[in-house]
Amino acid sequence: MNDLKVSIQTQDFDVAQLQRELGSLDTTGAIASFTGLVRSNNADRQVAVMELEHYPGMTERSIEKIMAEASQRWQLQAIRVVHRVGALRPGEQIVYVGVASGHRGDAFAACEFVMDYLKTRAPFWKKELTSAGEHWVEERTSDQHSAQRWGASPK
């Protein structure tokens, strides 16, 4: 360790490919991953397009810090984060977090930790284009609570 990589990109990603890269060590016993998709409904609105904006530079740095924090807390071998930006449609993949470890407990926990912190710390903003017009997505207190349960946060 530490094999930590983050990619912010407009193009789609191949989960199977990412998975193969993560499991390339013969000491890897577990890969836990999360793939986020664009939902067609959000609070009863029909979403036609989701636009993702980010802060080039800071977004990558903040995710690097989150991955470094995860690799301090758990025994990990590699982490991959891919996050798409630009215009996405319902059903499209938006985010991938994959964690390789010797054992499943660390992989599960670290994967959820990285995702929870990404949602509350990494500078991305979603705008929904719906039949009722366009609007910026508001932050969710449930996301804040999910991140807070991990205790002291990465700066």
Partner: protein
């Protein structure tokens, strides 16, 4: 010079994504810079930049209003993040 960036809803409200402010003692802290921007641009900017949930970063690290600024710093203002 200070390089100032605005993102997402804040960028749309203010109608600008990026601007420069000459460095001086008046903008030697983040709070000073914010006051300067409000004095230059008026009430709309006061409402947008002083909103309770506005986040601020200096050189791509989250920063509090009492943070010191130096010539050449990159300062960003943005709303709560909603990625993932």
């Amino acid at each position: 010079m200070l390089e100032i960036l605005f993102f997402a809803r804040l960028r749309e409200q203010l109608g600008v994504g990026r601007l420069q402010v000459p460095y001086s003692d008046a903008v030697a802290t983040l709070a000073g810079l914010q006051d300067h921007l409000i004095a230059e641009h008026g009430e709309l900017w006061a409402q947008a930049l002083q909103a309770e949930n506005v986040l601020r970063a200096v050189n791509q690290d989250m920063a509090a209003l009492d943070s010191a600024l130096a010539a050449g710093d990159e300062v960003a203002f943005f709303p709560p993040v909603t990625g993932g």
